[in-house]
Amino acid sequence: MPEEKKVVLKIDQMSHSFGGLKAVSNFNLDLPEGVIWGIIGPNGAGKTTVFNLVTGVYRPSQGHIHLLGEEITGKKPFTIVAKGAARTFQNIRLFGNIPVLDNVRIGMHKNYRPSMFDCVIRDGKFRRAEKKMREESMELLARFNLHGRADEIAKNLPYGEQRRLEIARALATNPKLLLLDEPAAGMNPNEVDKLMEMVYLIRDEFKLTILLIEHQMRFVMRICEWIKVMDFGETIAEGVASQIQNNPRVIEAYLGKGVN
Amino acid sequence: AAPSTPTPTPTATASSPTPTPTTPPPGGDIIIGCVAPLTGDSATFGKSTQNGVQQALDETNAKGGLLGGRQLILKTADDKSDPTEGAAGITRLIEQDKIVAEIGTVQSKVSLAIAPILQAKKIPMVSPTSTNEKVTLVGDFIFRACFIDNFQGTVGAAFAYTNLKVTKAAALFDVGNDYTKGLAESFRDAFTLLGGTIVGFEAHPTGATDFNAQLTKLIAAGPELLYLSDYYNDVGLICKQARALGYKGYFLGGDGWDSPDLVKIGGADVEGGFFTNHFSKDDTRPEVQTFVKAYTAKYGEAPDALAALAYDAANLMLDAITRAGSTDGTAIRDALKTSNFKAVSGTIKFDANRNPIKAAVIIEIKGGQQAYKATVAP
């Protein structure tokens, strides 16, 4: 592990259970700045739960989470976002009935905020903020090749574009850390390749650190610099792609024999 | 009423027997307004009121109308027991139907919303049943045909204490209804003043059907008499539930009891109950007998207190118009002030605050019928 870099996300001994089910146990992570790391593992291993714990959807029953050196354990989701973590969802969750542009602008809300009073009297502060938000949103959409869709109702977009929009919305919050939950699900290999390029691009352009969950090995093995493997809530292996691919325990529990 | 008996449509003006005069009298028809709760929770009261007014108008029309043969036409508006609706309704009657007088409305809260409008337009109003003192205080065009709240309670208390020789009484009333609350409070005050003890004083919410909690508590306090200021439909249920809980004492109430349905709902359990009223159907005065007969013939059921008061209110107004000799509001008002009219509910004069001065009667439920018991002068 490269030592000299700043740690963006630090998780110590985090555990969580649902009823009697231990979904995550003793999870540890030191995520350095600027990397793309992956979490893989069989279905129900607890990967999404890790994301939910980091972003404050659930409160861990044990352990500590630090974001950029600040403790965020048990904080409310919106405060965690404010501190710089953004995410996408395994099952896409857009604001379905409103235009694409507004989805992104809502993501921006926390950064530009004229007071309600400004809005009601429509003063200069309000107008400047609106203008800025609109411009930046359009830029962001353009980057995801969605600018032609700005006025469309989000739920009417095809699946692939919805996934891209979700990432754009997450980026609109101006995060330091981006958590992607199965971004390549439902994409064909070609689209996966395009997605891969995009992930690199946004990492560099937005100076992001990325942690992702994925089942498409084609994607994970190529893009992730470091991979953690979970099973039954526990971390059963971690390492670079080649190590993971050849780890007998991972093959047995997760990869199977014939895949890539 | 037998369920199969259809009630005639309320705006039956067209079907009323109107002998068409060959030459229309000068001034044309006289339009009388009636705002009443014709839908909603109090629709049944609105209906009786409307029937009573219609009856009065029809009778006058049959006698050849007013002011030299002018026919009377009733225009109604539904207030849904809502003051806002009442206000809209009365302005409609004033502006579009050009009413010269208003009979109504039933509830004080709505009367209070329409009275200022009528006062401003100088159109006289007689409310048949709004018992709140404030209603007629709105202005000198506003009259009423009923007792104000505290009269009946006082009469009831006197009857309980002196005639029934009761010393311990309790009361149950509808907390959301100013009429029943007012009655119960005045009964309580008067009864205590006479030397009796009020052992329980309980409220129930509007629309309740279950009074067991209050009754259990009241009965446990051992009253000899229960004062029930509710309307007949609640009273029927209350009496039933009280007897089922083992209550053996008297029931006493106000004019809200006056309906043929009281006995139907309450059955044997209301037997022996007493209530104060404006008139008795057994009263042999011709005003009463002709009214009761004609009303029953027309609507297929005996009139209740609301119908009788509405009938009186309308006749008071018609009498005033006749005496005023015109449909001018101020003239009618002046005539109303000097009323001395033999109404169904007694001979009515108005006091300085335009409240009627008239006697109350006590009625007993006997063998499923109303029986005249006593008259109490004011």
Partner: protein, 304 residues
Amino acid sequence: MELTTFFQQLINGLQLGAIYALIALGYTMVYGIIRLINFAHADFLMVGAFAVYFFASFILTLTNAIPPIILFILGLIVALVAGALIAELSNRLAYKPLRYKPRLSALITAVGVSMFLEYFFASLPFIGPSFRAFPDLLKPVSFVVGGVYLNNIQLLDIGLAIVLMILLTFIVNRTMMGKAMRAVSQDKDAAKLMGINVERTITFVFLIGGALAGAAGILMAMTYPRIYPNMGILPGLKAFVAAVLGGIGNIPGAMLGGFLLGIAEIYATSYNSLLGEGIAFAILIIVLLVRPQGLLGEKQSEKV
């Protein structure tokens, strides 16, 4: 409070609670499957009561010799059928066209159906807005146990509420139709893919729900023998509160909520009659603050 009074109030509470529970069962069942707060449920109750009223009045004009128990059973059947029919009629005409539309449109339609039934019945010349005395189907028989007054109709209310709750729980949880109903409530398209006839299933729900309303109607009319077109509004509202209190969609919850509310209301009233009116809502709010899903409701933890 004296002990006899205490127990008398408990009986009073159980009886009121039984009425709430009976209405709440239908509410909760329809809600559980269709996700529709069927505001008209309380009016189906009224329709059931009026159907029995006309039926019984008719029979009693023919003969007085009919044994009360037979009359009651016939009346109950009439109530069940009338409730079921009016419910299904509303479903067909008013709710079905909105099946795949925004959920709240159906809710507003339900308010419309409720208003319509109330006003329509009040406007019909042979019904009208007035209060009617409901004939005694069963002769009320009171008995005193240790100073506490009880009667047969109270026992009938309480017994029937429990029996219907058990029956309904069985139907919904154990039978294939019940499982189909729950599947439809989750995802209509997926239910179709399981071979479920969605419309038939929903019809079934309304028939049962309406029959329950009818049953509640006849019992309410027997307990408080005064019927009128708006008779369902207030108890309907309270029963709905009871259903939410117990966890809406949860059948035993509806019964628990009903009884709890009935008892609480009675005791609160006997403590101070002004308290009684708001107590239902106060309890509800407090309970929901502590247990947002209601007493027996499943916690819907959202899977993100």
